[in-house]
């Protein structure tokens, strides 16, 4: 029984060239991250400190949210609370309606993706323009991000060139990234100049000062918010951190982990509304508070959405973001999906080889692989465990529990090396799908041990 992820991954790898490009490009980003980390002697301590600040903040989240909202109100911002996606969308629409906004310019926000804000607003007659280049490309194509930091990583330049020819009057067959980016710059500049309101997400909310911090490379969040009188921030409850001192830890980790840059180009601190304008902050729960007291999974709330766990994941790199059924892919997405609805999103659990690489790169030490492992142990509860694999597990348990039988099986195992493929890779061997069996050693370790033979390692 293949999971939905396995089936979708099969489609992705059918295009060998694209799969290889995707794999290698993301690995390059991972390597850039490594180079950055190696330049900081205290990197590991920094991760530890980040982890502890998050542990503290998540435990005390109620206090910090109170502190954040009253500080923000003191600064002149208007704070709203949304328990779920629906309420979030209604609040945003109400604000826009009050200000008679026709065009809203947005910078990247995974939270608004989560709430499906764009279709909601468009349905109500508001023009919504995504301004992050990758997001804009996808919006014009009618698609959604396949990576949380590099949303259009699955798109080839030729596809973007074709799209721009059609939508932005770019030269025919010119797919040079510099040319296309500058065409988009011109085109989006017009949108910035004619927008009535700007919306951003939040990388961090600072409890002590009530300010919102947004990190971008393009400067799109700032273009929007410095031209429009109305700024709406959409922020998940887990984005709050205690103070600027804590922020220094996260700003050192975020860009280095995400793209291998020492810092994003812009780290913008929004404290007060623009002269003569308004700043609204919508604080969103949408299932997060439930996770806070779930001891096994609360660490997921530490996530700063850097995407490093995706770049390092061998399954993500080779299967692409669209092969996951939750809107956030990769190790972080597998877990977020399970916390949203285990029944609906358990297919993604198969997209993990338990290599633990994600745990090792995560800047805030979210125990991603442990959580995936834990979910797998509970698959039965959602009636999702593969029956053939369960049957085989039972068989293995029996063999492992009977030493004499185990010995006998081991002796004959090398025979498999000589069996015809159809006998080994058949429908009953669920693990044989998409996997190659390692060759069995001619002699088992046990028999060599007994004979007292010297083991040589030929590496």
């Amino acid at each position: 029984m293949s999971t939905k992820h396995a089936k979708a991954a099969k489609r992705f790898i059918r295009n060998r060239e694209q799969e290889q490009w995707h794999n290698e490009t993301l690995w390059l980003v991972r390597q850039k991250r490594d180079n950055m980390a190696m330049r900081i002697p205290e990197w590991e301590e920094l991760r530890e400190q980040a982890n502890r600040i998050k542990a503290h903040t998540v435990a005390e989240l109620a206090c910090y949210l109170e502190q954040f909202s009253s500080a923000a109100e003191n600064n002149g911002a208007i704070v709203h609370w949304a328990k779920d996606a629906q309420e979030h969308n209604e609040i945003v629409y109400d604000i826009l309606k009050q200000h008679q906004v026709k065009k809203l310019i947005k910078s990247k926000s995974m939270l608004t993706e989560e709430c499906l804000l764009n279709p909601y607003l468009i349905d109500k007659g508001i023009e919504v323009v995504e301004s992050d280049l990758g997001e804009r490309i996808l919006q014009l194509m009618g698609e959604h991000p396949s990576h949380i930091v590099m949303p259009a990583i699955h798109k080839k330049r030729e596809e973007v060139g074709k799209l721009f020819e059609e939508k932005m009057d770019s030269e025919k067959d010119n797919s040079d990234p510099t040319y296309l980016t500058h065409i988009a710059r011109k085109y989006l500049r017009k949108e910035f100049l004619t927008a009535d309101a700007a919306m951003t997400g939040a990388n961090f909310g600072i409890a002590q000062t009530g300010e919102v911090v947004v990190c971008t490379n393009e400067g799109n969040a700032d273009m929007g918010t410095s031209l429009c009188k109305l700024h709406i921030v959409s922020m998940g409850i887990e984005k709050v951190i205690p103070d600027l001192k804590s922020l220094s830890v996260f700003t050192r980790l975020l860009a280095r982990s995400a793209t291998g840059q020492p810092s994003t180009t812009y780290t913008s601190h929004y404290r007060k509304p623009i002269e003569g304008g308004e700043m609204h902050i919508v604080i969103v729960d949408n299932g997060r508070s439930k996770i806070q007291h779930n001891f096994n999974y609360e660490r997921i709330l530490y996530c700063i959405r850097c995407g490093a766990c995706m770049n390092t994941c061998p399954v993500y790199r080779r299967s692409g973001g669209y092969s996951y059924t939750y809107f956030i892919p990769g190790p972080i997405g597998i877990n977020l999906g399970m916390l949203k609805s285990p029944k609906k999103y358990s297919d993604n659990l198969s997209a993990c080889s338990l290599c633990y690489s994600c745990n090792n790169v995560c800047p805030v030490k979210v125990n991603l692989a442990d959580q995936i492992y834990r979910w797998r142990q509970r698959l039965n509860l959602f009636h999702k465990a593969s029956t053939t694999k369960k049957l085989m597990s039972k068989g293995m348990k029996f063999i492992f529990g009977h030493p004499a039988l185990y010995g006998a099986v081991l002796k004959i195992a090398p025979i498999i090396n000589h069996l015809p493929r159809f006998l080994v890779y058949n429908k009953l061997n669920a693990w044989g799908h998409g996997r190659e069996l390692p060759r069995f050693a001619g002699k088992s370790f046990n028999s060599m041990w007994k004979k007292g033979k010297q083991l040589t390692i030929n590496n």
Binding site: A59, L65, K83, G134, K155, R185, E218, N220, D222, Y266
Partner: protein
């Protein structure tokens, strides 16, 4: 209001083993023998192209050589004589769309990443992003080692808006190819004096 209560209520009770913020060990962060030299190097790496103003060199003359063709030049700094207008007299930030060069002051430089802290010091913050090119003037005595030191200095200050800028606007959203000049300034030069 009721949603706020629901959310806050959901988050209680706190864990009894809560770790105190004050008890979390602060890391001993990297320091440089020569932060100014480090800043210059890393700034070049991130495209901030920092230059050191030599003793006796005129900042206006230097900017002129860097941007010989710029005509519409915005600055509210008294020492900048080559400015063609004072942007603080502009009521509507949209009118700044044709600015070719903006010259502003940075308050703090960070050696580990080439960032310069600018608490809003012009009337229209759009100026930092909308102009084609941006020059940031920075005092060499205001360069700190790392972000910890930077935020130590930023904390306690009153600003409505502030931004760390570390180079020109950029993107790699098309096939991960790095392109300079996404939405903000196409070039950023930090002049250290």
């Amino acid at each position: 209001m009721s949603s706020k209560n629901d959310i806050i209520k959901n988050l209680n009770p706190h864990y009894s083993w809560t770790l105190k913020l004050a008890d979390i060990k602060t890391v001993e962060a990297v320091k440089f023998d020569n932060p100014v030299a480090e800043f210059l190097e890393i700034s070049r790496f991130v495209g901030g192209d920092a230059v050191l103003l030599n003793e006796g060199e005129d900042v206006n003359a230097l900017i002129k050589t860097l941007y010989p063709d710029a005509v519409r030049i915005a600055s509210n700094l008294p020492e900048i004589t080559i400015a063609s207008f004072n942007p603080d007299e502009t009521d509507d930030p949209h009118n700044l769309n044709d600015v070719e060069l903006a010259i502003v002051k940075g308050e703090l430089g960070v050696a580990e990443n080439g960032c310069v802290w600018i608490p809003q010091n012009v009337r229209q913050k759009a100026l930092y992003f909308i102009s084609e090119n941006l020059v940031i003037i920075l005092d060499k005595n205001k360069i700190v080692n790392n972000m910890h030191e930077a935020y130590e200095r930023v904390a306690g200050n009153d600003y409505g808006f502030g931004v760390f800028i570390s180079g020109p606007s950029k993107t790699a959203d098309i096939e991960q190819a790095l392109v300079i000049g996404a939405h903000g300034a196409k070039s950023v030069r930090v002049i250290i004096n």
